[in-house]
């Protein structure tokens, strides 16, 4: 997804209800809200409820009398409102677990079915190649952590590495994937209409993580 600078012009268009700017705003921050909420809410419906309520409040604020003056703080504003909505959600649903109890982002297993049909062959191939380039030990390490979801300290002890090693391993894999991903998204953007690819990308992301 193309990032647009959150400057005064962007904020002005948003406040005036420019449709394309609103679409971009919603889609861009929807992704981030989903990433944030996945570790805090187990239900897709709950995530969607919080997301919608967050945007509803933001648009009320944007179109209110006072409005929003600092364009560069739009992201912080969205995050802040999302936190408030989430807290209200917890209270209204008498959740015993707080935000502090949440674990890492958890891609639910049912998402793999979605991945089957949604993730491009190139993405699958690239991830496979990245994993194949890893040593067998590193592959097993990632498998224990992400697939078997075993305790990280136990796994690190089993493989004779520390948590820093795990972070660096993930970091390097991420960088390898990112170089492909950026090119892939750029070529997708240039090969077809921007709007079509944008919608497809948002749909893909939502299917994966919503």
């Amino acid at each position: 997804m193309q990032f647009q600078k959150f400057d005064d012009a962007y904020l002005d268009s948003l406040c005036k209800g420019d449709r394309r700017t609103e679409e971009h705003f919603v889609q861009y921050f929807s992704e981030l809200i989903h990433l944030k909420l996945r570790s805090r809410l187990n239900s897709r419906d709950a995530i969607e409820d919080v997301r919608q309520e967050t945007f509803a409040r933001i648009f009320v604020l944007l179109r209110g009398k006072e409005g929003v003056r600092n364009a560069s703080a739009l992201g912080a504003l969205v995050n802040s409102i999302c936190n408030h909505v989430l807290l209200e959600y917890y209270r209204s649903h008498s959740k015993s677990e707080g935000m502090e109890d949440a674990s890492e982002i958890d891609i639910q297993s049912q998402d793999t079915d979605v991945l089957d049909t949604m993730v491009s062959k190139d993405t699958q191939k690239t991830v496979r190649q990245i994993l194949e380039k890893l040593s067998d030990r590193d592959r097993q390490l990632l498998k224990r952590i992400f697939l078997e979801e075993r305790d990280k300290d136990e796994v690190c002890a089993e493989f004779g590495v520390d948590r820093e090693y795990l972070r660096v391993l993930l970091h390097r894999a991420k960088l390898s994937f990112k170089s492909f991903y950026v090119k892939h998204m750029a070529s997708s953007g240039s090969s077809g209409s921007g709007r079509g690819n944008f919608s497809r990308y948002v749909w893909l992301f939502s299917a994966l993580f919503c």
Binding site: G75, Q124, R128, K174, K178
Partner: protein
């Protein structure tokens, strides 16, 4: 949390691995909501982890390097294409050995253990140019005897007997000690060692001086006939 803290502290990785404390997580979320680069980083890493889970779940993720092909493997020896001709060749060899080779060896062994009379020729007076050429008639593939008279001489520490075929090729050479040369020396010529025709037995004396060449003493000629 500023951008450098996020990058240098592997905040994206820690976030995905659940290693951030509540406050750090809040700070990181506040940051990536306003930072394009970190948001893209997190998005990319999340997609990678999701797809990696799927790939890691596959039974065989990595294609193992193809093992070096052996010249042959044991199971391949059992394939009919190889096994049948090999068995046939083996049966032929076994049949040949049982019908030809083994009986012949048994016959030869039986002959060797039995007393018998060998054809012989006595080689004396070799220095006489007009001496008659002796004839020996041997059976095919059987040895014969040469009874050789070696003229003894004190100058020599030993003697060499060399057999030359009719074509002039040296067939064999035998060293004889002075004590053996006192009497007529019987020499068994192996079967098929030489050819029919006029063969020559050269007797040479070996001096004590190792560097000097053997001296010719006598040259016997005999006619070999094969039945």
């Amino acid at each position: 949390m500023d951008h450098s803290e996020v990058v240098n502290g592997y905040a994206v990785e820690k976030y995905l691995l659940g290693e951030l404390g509540p406050e750090e997580r809040e700070a990181f979320e506040e940051h990536y909501f306003g930072c394009e680069e970190c948001a893209a980083d997190l998005r990319t890493a999340t997609i990678f982890v999701a797809q990696a889970r799927k790939e890691l779940a596959r039974p065989v993720l990595v294609v193992q390097p193809e093992p070096k092909r052996k010249l042959f493997s044991f199971p391949s020896l059992l394939r009919p294409a190889f096994a049948v001709p090999a068995m046939a060749a083996m049966l032929l060899v076994i049949g040949f050995q049982n019908t030809i080779t083994v009986p012949r060896l048994e016959q030869q062994a039986a002959v060797a253990t039995q007393p018998r009379i060998l054809p012989s020729v006595t080689l004396v007076d070799g220095q006489s140019r007009g001496a008659e050429i002796r004839t020996v008639t041997a059976k095919a593939h059987e040895p014969f005897l040469l009874a050789v008279d070696i003229p003894a001489d004190n100058r020599f520490s030993g003697y060499l007997c060399s057999l030359y075929s009719p074509s002039g090729k040296k067939v064999w050479q035998l060293r004889i000690e002075p004590s053996q040369a006192a009497d007529t020396v019987p020499i068994q010529v192996p079967a098929d060692a030489t050819e029919t025709g006029e063969n020559t037995l050269l007797v040479q004396g070996i001096t004590a001086d190792a560097q000097s060449a053997p001296q010719d003493i006598v040259r016997y000629r005999f006619l070999l006939q094969i039945q």
